[in-house]
């Protein structure tokens, strides 16, 4: 039997003192690192306030009318007081101060603002300083049978059509944009752009441009865009050559023809699903391997989700709230469909995972709420997908690796 009790007291040895001092220093460093984001605006503000009040004493009242967290307000206050001291200004209480400063933290649609109202006698003057606004992290959802896991690869203002880490060259990332493909290399500071190759094309890209970056076996990768195909060279120095082509795009074990002036596949498949080489035009298709055939699920241009097994076509009535992007991903416990939601592009999307035991899809895990709409969802291979999300808060495009893990 174990009895309940307090942890025994340990005497601090000189080693533990050193350890405590180190932790203390680290905490100081962390605190300094946090406030560093306010150093420059605080210095500007202190200079402006000093320009109005002159050296001497001020009272300082803080008001926060913004959504800035209290901890950040404290950091800002510390940074400002430090900068005021550097400017020769001492902060005192209102009774003894020559100047009263009311600092209001407010915000507009772009940034936080520090608005200082500086009162000297009957005169009131105003100093305004923009402050940086940092993003808050999003926590992943938990799950039932499988868990959807995402790993942010890259975030940028330019649209991303597809992104993939290049196999065999693990510290490299290829990012497909509408007019170029950029190769990034992982360094201590994160992904750094190393080379960019323009995508040459004579046709105007269609709206809702889609493109795929497909790793190849005998060269680095191929790029599929509407009416255009590009290939990376097999030898160094790396080159990317593009040509006009209506060749079909790879979709798992199939290839499908994509409309050069539109945003969907026209339904012609090669080699075909069994004897079926023509299906309804579709936005995306996912193949779930069965023992002797593949069950294809396709998000049709007409808004219906259909299943094709080579002989029968079935409309999935329960898929009314699915979006138009579907991929199939394998996990240790089976193969699943990963599906976007049917929200407008103005709203955050949900990634949902379905198991298809026979024909009827059954939700197999908690949906994952994303920071914005999914603009692209492609398989990298049977175990991974890339989801590109337009983050509605940051207005950045974010490419994520998506995998599934089984809950035991």
């Amino acid at each position: 039997m174990i009895s309940a009790g307090y942890n025994p007291r340990y005497q601090m040895t000189s080693g533990t003192w050193k350890y405590a001092a180190l932790v203390g220093w680290l905490l100081v460093l962390v605190s300094l690192a946090h406030s560093a984001e306010f150093d420059e605006p605080a210095a500007n503000l202190a200079r402006t306030i000093g320009g109005i009040s002159g050296p001497g004493t001020i009272s300082l009242t803080f008001k926060n009318t913004s959504s800035m967290p209290a901890q950040k307000v404290t950091e800002l206050r510390r940074a400002l007081e430090a900068q005021l001291r550097i400017a020769g200004i001492r902060v005192k209480n209102a009774e003894t101060a020559a100047t009263d400063v009311t600092l209001t933290i407010s915000e507009n649609f772009q940034s936080y603002l520090a608005v200082a109202q500086v009162a000297q006698g009957n005169e009131l003057r105003v100093a305004i300083q923009a402050l940086p606004r940092t993003q808050t992290a999003v926590t992943p959802a938990t799950s039932r049978a499988v868990t959807i896991k995402t790993n942010l690869l890259i975030s940028q203002a330019q649209p991303i059509l597809d992104a993939t880490q290049l196999k065999g060259l693990s510290p490299y990332l290829a990012v497909l944009e509408p007019e170029q493909v950029v190769i990034y290399r992982m360094q201590a500071s994160g992904w750094n752009p190393e080379q960019a190759f323009p995508i040459t094309h004579s046709r105007i890209w269609p709206r809702d441009l889609r493109g795929r970056l497909v790793p190849a076996t005998d060269h680095l990768f191929d790029i599929f865009l509407p009416g255009t195909i590009c290939s990376a060279s097999a030898t160094s120095p790396l080159k990317v050559d593009c040509r006009e082509s209506d060749d079909p795009w790879p979709l798992g074990t199939q290839r499908a023809f994509y409309g050069a002036a539109r945003n969907f596949f026209n339904g012609v498949m090669t080699p075909g699903i069994g004897p079926q080489s023509q299906v309804e035009p579709f936005y995306s298709a996912a193949g779930l391997p069965r023992s002797n055939y593949t069950l294809w699920t396709m998000a049709g241009v007409d808004g219906r989700v259909r299943q094709y097994d080579g002989f029968n076509t079935r409309v999935v009535a329960s898929a009314r709230d699915w979006g138009s992007d579907i991929v199939a991903i394998k996990a240790e416990c089976g193969a699943f469909l990963l599906v976007t939601g049917n929200n407008d592009a103005s709203m955050p999307d949900l990634l949902r995972v379905y198991e298809v035991a026979d024909r009827e899809p059954v939700e197999a895990g908690q949906p994952l709420e994303l920071a914005g709409p999914v603009t692209a969802l492609w398989n990298i291979d049977e175990n991974f997908a890339t989801a590109v999300v337009y983050n509605l808060r940051s207005n950045n495009y974010e490419a994520h690796d998506v995998t599934l893990t089984c809950n035991r």
């Binding site: 507009n108 109202q117 105003v126 709206r207 936005y283 007409d302 808004g303 979006g323 049917n342």
Partner: protein
């Protein structure tokens, strides 16, 4: 079950039955838009589908390239050089080039344009100014500086071209060679000069897909569970004080008039709580420091100022022809009488001393927006400022003249039909129809 309820149930059931997954945009279809403004009015939002500007303001407020790909300041921002996008064609097939941009921007001598001179070079356009103009790229995003062929005013480079003009509107069709890709919609019928009341009726009977709605129509359509999309508060309602008679040249009287206005009762009684009261030229979402311009009435101070003038003043009050603004003018006349000012309602705004007007922000850049608003009230604008501090100081200086008295910012509200998808209102309420599409079945 009543007959109407049974029919409604059938409709809902039918909608559920055909409801389908639709996220990626679909090509095709015709959209029907109605607007209050005439087609020729540069403030008509549908014009932005036809005519484009050299720059644009992104949702985060940053200036982004449009028909210009880059720009650089020279001579301490007294000169700006804009490099023009290549491979862009006007709707008649003629190529966009620096010369036709200069022609477009000088077609009517560009009354009120901020530049001193403009000239075309091989691949760029250069603007010269008398004084530094750091915020000029943001200002060029205004629809006032939209580029149309000088010889054919409705021929632009936008995603839609005018394929038919009627007295009550225009028919727009998708421009296949649009440099950013053909829009999803095949065509748009734009009916213009339509009152908000008529627009609401057309929406009710299914004759329109997108209509504007004021506070009164909103209440009516809300009862019908219509789909609304509301912008941030972008429409400024303000009182313009004209110095047509000597008494009003005295800033003390103008200040007294400004202090007399009871914005709170206007906001709750007339605007039904919509939008925000303001004493600032810019809305708080754009600046963040609206609190520096308190909107409260100060009748005591107003009466002191009037007493100091020595005699009871007399003014005429009017409004632009708009039922909402006329109600505001009547309320202001009552407020003025509280302070001892003799205020009469004038039938037309032509010779009135005080006129209630509205103007819509089209820029998400604070500096450019101040200039736009001041120009809208026929006050000589200063070069637009490029920092929060300078924008504040510029606003403060303009407001201390008491020639414009801001009253309220109202949002622009649009009612959209169930079949319209992916229509995202821009920051200032402008339509972004080029990204929209129509679904075969309405969303349940």
């Amino acid at each position: 079950m009543s007959r109407s309820l049974a029919i409604a149930s059938l409709v809902v059931a039918a909608l559920l039955g055909v409801a389908t997954a639709e996220t990626r945009p679909k090509y095709g279809g015709t959209l029907r838009i109605e607007t209050r403004a005439d087609w020729a009015n540069s403030g008509n939002p549908a014009r932005t589908l036809v005519l484009e500007t050299l720059t644009t303001i992104a949702e985060n407020g940053s200036v982004q390239p449009k028909l210009a790909t880059s720009w650089e300041p020279q001579a301490d921002s007294r000169r700006w050089q804009f490099t023009i996008r290549k491979n862009v064609k006007f709707h008649d097939g003629s190529p966009l080039n620096p010369t036709n941009i200069v022609d477009a921007l000088t077609v009517n001598d560009c009354d009120g344009c901020p530049w001193r001179s403009i000239r075309a070079q091989s691949d760029s356009v250069t603007f010269e100014f008398s004084e530094p103009y750091p915020n000029f790229p943001a200002e060029l995003a205004s629809p006032r500086f939209a580029v149309a062929l000088a010889r054919a005013q409705d021929t632009g480079t936008g995603p839609f071209k005018v394929s038919d003009s009627r007295q009550d509107g225009v028919l727009l069709s998708a421009y296949e060679d649009y440099w950013q890709g053909r829009p999803f919609l095949d065509s748009i019928e734009v009916t213009t000069g339509r009152s908000e009341r008529d627009q609401a009726m057309d929406m009710e009977v299914g004759r329109a897909d997108v209509v504007e709605a004021g506070p009164v129509q909103m209440r009516r359509l809300q009862n019908q569970k219509a789909r609304f999309t509301t912008s941030r508060p972008v429409e400024l309602l303000a009182l313009r004080i004209r110095t047509l008679r000597p008494e009003l040249e005295d800033a003390r009287l103008r200040e007294a008039i400004a202090l007399t206005i009871d914005r709170s009762s206007i906001h709750t009684g007339i605007f039904q709580g919509q939008g925000e009261m303001t004493a600032s030229l810019l809305p708080n979402w754009l600046t963040g420091y609206g609190f520096l311009f308190p909107p409260q009435r100060n009748l005591t101070r107003a009466q002191e100022l009037i007493r100091a003038l020595g005699q009871a003043p007399s003014v005429t009050v009017s409004a632009e022809p708009d039922p909402l603004l006329q109600l505001v003018a009547e309320r202001i006349a009552l407020n003025l009488r509280d302070a001892g000012v003799t205020a009469k309602i004038a039938a037309t705004p032509d010779r009135a001393d005080l006129v209630v007007r509205r103007t819509t922000l089209t820029s998400g850049d604070a500096g450019a927006a101040v200039r736009e608003i001041v120009s809208g009230f026929n006050i000589e604008p200063q070069p637009s400022a490029d920092s929060p501090q300078r924008v504040y100081e510029q606003q403060r200086a303009i407001l201390e003249e008491h020639l414009v008295v801001p009253l309220a910012f109202l949002p622009r509200t649009w009612v959209v039909s169930a079949r319209l998808r992916n229509w995202i209102p821009g920051m200032t309420g402008w339509l972004r129809i080029e990204e929209a599409w129509v679904a075969e079945s309405p969303r349940p």
